[in-house]
Symmetry: C2
Subunit: 222 residues, 2 copies
């Protein structure tokens, strides 16, 4: 059913020549879906906000659901493959010196992208929670590309001794991603921040790097 729609949309992304009204529709849809959620937004309201007839929406997108995927798909394409390839390569060659610097740059890069596309991120996360088939499509996708790209970087930092080698690389990557998803969801969605301060990002990097234990003072001296 919904299985191949997503893939088809991802494939035909660049071949789409949008009309002016189509752009108005997409813009209105993003805004309304982010604010009220997909299920609570009617096609009539989208048409009204877009300044377009309701029929026009269905002329172009066929169903309400296909409009949703047309809106989300480009965001996902930018979020993940870029994360896994371009952004990493860029960051990695730029600041090869230290793990902490690499992590800091990468995190700031992604946080900036997401805060710039806050509404899309909101729509994406909310629908991710409601749609199992959507998750099933995306998890292998994310769980293949992301660790694949990070694995050799993690391994390299292990060899340099900067990264602890008593924990499997997969576990390390998973834990960092877990913290980051918590960070983004609480800040962008729950708190509704439109920006995240340098200080808060720095605290996050610190936490990922060091945890909370005081490892500078000797422990067994009591």
């Amino acid at each position: 059913m919904t299985n191949n729609i997503f893939e088809k949309l991802l494939a035909q992304l660049n071949t789409k020549p949008k009309t002016a009204k189509q752009e108005q529709i997409v813009e209105a849809a993003i805004q309304l879906f982010a604010a009220k959620g997909y299920a609570n937004t009617s096609t009539a309201e989208i048409a009204r906000v877009a300044g377009v007839s309701e029929g026009t929406i269905f002329k172009h997108y066929g169903t309400k659901e296909r409009l949703l995927f047309s809106v989300i798909a480009p965001f996902i394409r930018e979020l993940f493959p870029q994360l896994a390839r371009e952004a990493v390569e860029e960051t990695f060659t730029e600041d090869t010196q230290s793990l902490e610097q690499f992590l800091r740059t990468l995190i700031k890069n992604r946080i900036q992208f997401i805060t710039e596309n806050r509404e899309l991120f909101q729509v994406f996360v909310k629908e991710l929670m409601y749609r199992e088939e959507f998750r099933k499509k995306l998890f292998p996708f994310a769980m293949e590309y992301v660790p694949e790209t990070f694995k050799h970087i993690v391994d390299r930092f292990k060899e340099s001794g900067e990264l602890r080698d008593d924990i499997p690389s997969e576990t390390i990557i998973l834990n960092v991603l877990t913290f980051l998803s918590g960070f983004l969801i609480t800040r962008i969605i729950l708190r509704g921040s439109d920006t995240i301060s340098e200080k808060e990002m720095e605290e996050a990097v610190q936490f990922i790097m060091e945890g909370i234990r005081n490892s500078h003072k000797p422990e067994a001296n009591e």
Copy 2:
């Protein structure tokens, strides 16, 4: 509008003598809200699953929204005040010996509670994302009780030298909560786990305690 509904429900929680049909309604609502989301679940379907007339739902709860809050409110009451008071006191007196042990016990305690009430946790998180007024009610509530209760424990572990004292207690608590929310959301909601393994919990505790940096080997020896 919805402002005092939540508080009223929280207040009158224990004074409610539920009938058999009321319990069937609540059970059906939890199940359906968790699976399909509040907005995608009709009162007709709840009535059908509960084996009850649709009118009975409105007899008892008045509106669909009040049914939702009747379902969520007890969960929140158990999740937060217990977290902030009973569970902490219990854990703290039980294992006063080490920070790591305290953290481990507390985390396992909360993870167990949430996995035991997975459906309610799903409903809670999803609605939290869609309802701003709901968040505004809950954030002060959580941000008052939780740090208040943890503050003196964190301070105590700082004094004992087990917890790093170069970071404000509030930041430490916030970072731990951020990781935990990410942990629970990705596992319970996105991955849909019905249980979380001992191993995975242990890895989470490790990450919170130590981060990812290798602090055992000397860094400046190259």
